[in-house]
Each structure stands twice: as C-alpha cells, then as structure tokens.
Symmetry: C2
Subunit: 224 residues, 2 copies
C-alpha cells in the first residue's frame, strides 16, 4: 500500500519533470540541481560560480528551503535573479514546485539556471526536477566518510564538489579516502576540490560546467 | 489519500514508540535521541559525553545510518556497547527499528542510552522513537542561519548543542543570531556551545544531561 502510493507520487513527479526538461531544452537553458547537506555551501558555490561565468549566460536561481528567504535575499543583493520556494515541511523540491516557480523568474536570455535544493543529503536524490545535471556539494567539515554513509545521493551525481577545502588540514580530512568512497558508488562523476573562501579549484569546476551543452548529457540522473 | 496513509504510518509508529518508552521507564534507562545534519558531530559528541559520564551509567548506543557501520566500529573501539541500524534508503529512524535493535544491546546496568539518528535536519523530527529527550546538534561550519531555515527540527529539541565552537572566529559565526533564531522557534531549549576538539563547554552539557531523571520530562517531544 505504502509502496503503491509512493510509486504513484514519483510517477506524477516524473511527468512534470519531463515537461520541465522540455521547457529548458526548447529555450536552450542548462539547468543544474544542487544538492547538499545543510550548510555545505550551496549558495556560496552559486555566488562564486556566477562571478566566474561569462556575462552572456545570465544565470538565474531557484532557491528551495523549508522556510525563510535568506539565500534568495543574498542572491538578489548580488544582482542575481532568484526566486524562493518554501516547501513548508517537505524535505525536498519536486518537479511541480520548480514548474510553478518558472513564471516568476525573468528567463529572457538566461542560459544557465541553478536550482538550490533543500539542505538534505538523502531525499532530494529521489525526485527528478527536470534538470540536466545533478551536482552534489560536500564540505570538508562534514568528514571524509560521507560517500560511504550516503551512497544514494552520491550515486545520483553528475559531478561532486568538495567545498571548504581551506579546512582540509584542520580536520585531517583524507581526500583520497573520500575519493575512493565516491568512486565505489559513482566512478563516472568528476570531483572538484574547491574553496569558495580562497577561490581555489573553482576554475576547473566552472570549465566543466560551461562545457555542458543544454539538452545533452544524462537526462534522468535523479530517477530512482 | 497521501495524507491518510502518512497519518496511519505515524500512528503505527507512535504505538511502538509508547512501548519503547515504557520499556525504558521500567528499566530506569534515560534515552536520548540525537538529531543533526550529516557531519555535525553526533558520534564525536557521544564519545566526548561518554568520556565525562560517571562509569556507573554504563552508556550504550544505537547507531542509525543509511549504510555502513563506521560509527558503530568507532564506538566499539572506544569500549562503548553499540549496535548498528542500517535503514537502507530511509531518511530517519522509526520506533520499530529501535525496538528491533534493543535485544541486540547488552542493557544490563545501562542507565543511559544514546540513539544517533540518521544525518538529516528535517525528517527525523517527525518520528517519535520513545526517547525521553530530543537533542539537536548543530555545528558552526553549517552557519548561524540554521534555526531560521529548519524551524521544525529546532522546535522539537529539548536541548541544542552548537558543536565545533573552535571555528566560531574562522566562520564569523554570530552566536547571538543563532541564539535568537532558536529562541524564536523554541524559547525553552537550553543552548550549549561546545567543542569536542577542545572540550570547551562539555561540562555544562553533561551536567544538564545527568540531571535528567529517567521517566520524567517531555515524553512526546518529537510528536508531529
């Protein structure tokens, strides 16, 4: 019974995700779904990435949070078009929430749309939003064991950023151990070790991102 | 339809939670449900707390993770009885999982049982496990806005630890802002600013914990 209902919810979500995907493809918008633990630095990565992008990409952001508009306010203050989704209690964004947010964004000329999912290293991976790429942001203070403990999320990634790399020595963080764990569940995903504080590593990440072509790549990477 | 099924699942969970609560009360075991984001330091807090407890309390631990036995192995290596629950994909522990774990623990003489929930700052708050106290562990690298963004979790807390306090200056973490956010959603919960690395602040937390009496206090603090 529970499984049947869950399947029906996911199936309804996938239909809307397909519509979102067609919407993005028709407009030539590359859409990235950022997923991470609370406080891993999703908004910081978006700000640091936007600052390094060619201006003609005109990035925009959909912000997902249980409550508050803190991150949207930060983005708007930095001149980046952004719209807030408050999920109430829901632990993830879903495709209908994204669809409902699209008319509230000025997308004329936008070539890159970032979706910042709710801070949660588990549930968001099960809901396809229609984004072209799923990017997981881990952070050094969380510890180097996260790919071993949260394999489902890391398996869903098209790329992984390891943020707050300026703290690797402070936390005795073993990057090789983290990398092995990621390779176990997802050998194809590239890992970018970055620090939004120092800027280290961001160039390689931005180069990977800007090399993606709208409409290409894995289309259903978040499907369960 | 979805709501009805969810209600039925929660109701079945609450029945088992009540049984767990009666089990703990009959044996004089104080049980604490630790909830936090991934990597906030739940296991580190349990280790640091156990090291400062009177030996006669004989603490034991139930470890919840999606996958792996990393934390249980760490606890056992430190001489603390522990048993692992792997939830598969589930984003939280529930009362039946805890009930099933109890016979696997040597509880003779145990006066304090720690339950380390799955790393998730949202879903675990909705599932009563039968524990007497719900303790949220936040950590400085996650940022001082977490009570504003995850109000449901912080509202469910009997106490809040702010861990990794050794990094307050590095992250320009505003403790007063965090404290105001917590007070907005939960004026009654005490806040303990601690560092498992330096040991700072742990005495006050352990004093609060050991002053709790089994069977007293808020019994259903995690109920939705």
């Amino acid at each position: 019974m529970k499984i049947d209902v869950t399947r029906r919810i996911l199936s309804a979500n996938d239909e809307v995700a397909a519509e979102n995907r067609a919407f993005f493809a028709a407009r030539g918008i590359l859409t990235v779904n950022f997923m991470a633990s609370p406080g891993a630095g999703k908004t910081s990565v978006i700000l640091a990435t936007a600052a390094r992008l060619p201006a003609e990409l005109r990035p925009a952001v959909i912000e997902g949070d249980l409550a508050s508009s803190i991150d949207t306010d930060t983005l708007l203050a930095n001149g980046i078009p952004a719209v807030q989704i408050n999920t109430g209690g829901a632990c993830h964004l879903d495709a209908p929430m994204v669809r409902a947010a699209l008319p509230r964004l000025p997308l004329d000329g936008t070539r890159l749309l970032f979706i910042e999912n709710v801070g949660n290293l588990i549930c968001p991976a099960e809901f396809d939003l229609g984004a072209q790429a799923a990017v997981i942001i881990a952070s050094v203070p969380e510890g180097h064991d996260k790919p071993y403990k949260y394999p489902g999320m890391f398996a869903a990634a098209d790329a992984v950023l390891l943020n707050k790399a300026d703290l690797i020595a402070y936390f005795d963080f073993d990057v090789a151990h983290f990398r092995r764990g990621l390779a176990m569940v997802n050998p194809a995903a590239p890992l970018f070790v970055v620090s939004c504080r120092s800027g280290d590593g961001l160039e390689a990440w931005v180069a990977w991102l800007t090399a993606l072509q709208p409409g290409a790549g894995r289309s259903g990477s978040c499907d369960p």
